[in-house]
């Protein structure tokens, strides 16, 4: 199940980021945590989307502000100068909504899963609790910057 989950998730991330945000994505297979993947100083937009079904859990998406601005500009067809924080947050939530839904649609033919409503998190909320293993992590590079995604199961 793990390998098909990873394959479906990578497919979903690539499809969504390329189709809607014009960002080509390369996946990096290194045993790094989310905190190690980002340098520590950049401002990160973190979104969470819960799902429920035979298995329950949540998707997470980490997008640095610089990349969030580019994605938002591409998504809305605006220049980066004219974008506000609300538009960026909305775009990141919608990106995660599409990734999560697209990923589920690959294996949930019966419609057994329900997606929640995506929400933005503060940085400390987005990190796995101390002592708890992180879920399936996806480390990505675009032409602009890095981003990351994660699936955590309950």
């Amino acid at each position: 199940m793990r390998s098909s989950m990873r394959k479906n998730m990578k497919l979903a991330i690539s499809d969504v980021l390329e189709t809607m945000f014009f960002q080509a994505v390369q996946f990096v297979e290194e045993p790094l945590s989310i905190a190690e993947w980002f340098s520590g100083n950049e401002s990160l937009n973190i979104a969470r989307l819960e799902f429920a079904g035979p298995v329950c859990g949540a998707y997470y998406l980490w997008v640095p502000s610089g990349l969030a601005a580019v994605m938002t500009a591409n998504f809305l067809g605006l220049s980066e100068d004219g974008i506000d924080d609300q538009q960026q947050a909305d775009t990141i939530k919608e990106a995660l909504n599409m990734i999560g839904g697209h990923m589920l649609s690959h294996f949930d033919e019966q419609g057994a899963y329900q997606l929640g409503i995506p929400e933005m998190l503060a940085r400390q909320e987005g990190m796995a609790p101390v002592g708890r293993e992180a879920g399936e992590i996806f480390l990505c590079e675009t032409d602009v910057m890095r981003l990351a995604a994660e699936i955590r199961l309950q």
Binding site: G77, L78, Q87, D90, M98, G100, H102, L104, S105, G111
Partner: protein, 142 residues
């Protein structure tokens, strides 16, 4: 003939994108209306003349499936075509939407052609084969 469109999605960004895609597809739209959930959509439908509804499924307060059900249950509204534009792509969800009265289904992520083809079918409109490129699309790959 221009037609009035209601776009229903809890994401303001997604509503803006759908509106933009419809516009560059060449459809003659009279007015765009927007709603953030099914309840707001029904309020607009009771007050405005709407020819086509595009709606997400997963929304707070009232989701898109309930919205379709209520539109179909209303004598005055049931002739309005409703197209689901959603990440929920399972066969089961598609059948559920159709059973409730949805006329079409577009999965996210979508290309402009997906919206264009579906709307052409719904509204019986013939549009030009090529997408009209507005200036802001010059750097995109739509």
């Amino acid at each position: 003939m221009a037609f009035n469109v209601l776009i229903v999605d809890d994401s303001a960004s997604m509503r803006a994108v759908i509106k933009k895609v419809i516009r560059v597809s060449g459809f003659r739209v009279g007015k765009y209306h927007e709603a953030g959930d099914g309840i707001q959509a029904l309020e607009i439908l009771s007050a405005e003349w709407i020819d086509l509804v595009l709606t997400d499924i997963n929304m707070p307060r009232m989701n898109g499936l309930e919205l379709v059900r209520q539109i179909n249950a209303d004598e005055m509204l049931r002739s309005i075509p409703v197209v689901m534009v959603t990440t929920e792509g399972s066969e089961d969800k598609i059948k559920q939407a159709q059973a409730l009265g949805a006329s079409g289904y577009i999965k996210k992520p979508f290309l402009p052609e997906d919206i264009k083809m579906t709307l052409s079918r719904m509204m019986g409109e013939e549009v030009e084969d090529e997408i009209v490129h507005e200036e802001e699309y010059e750097t995109g790959d739509f």
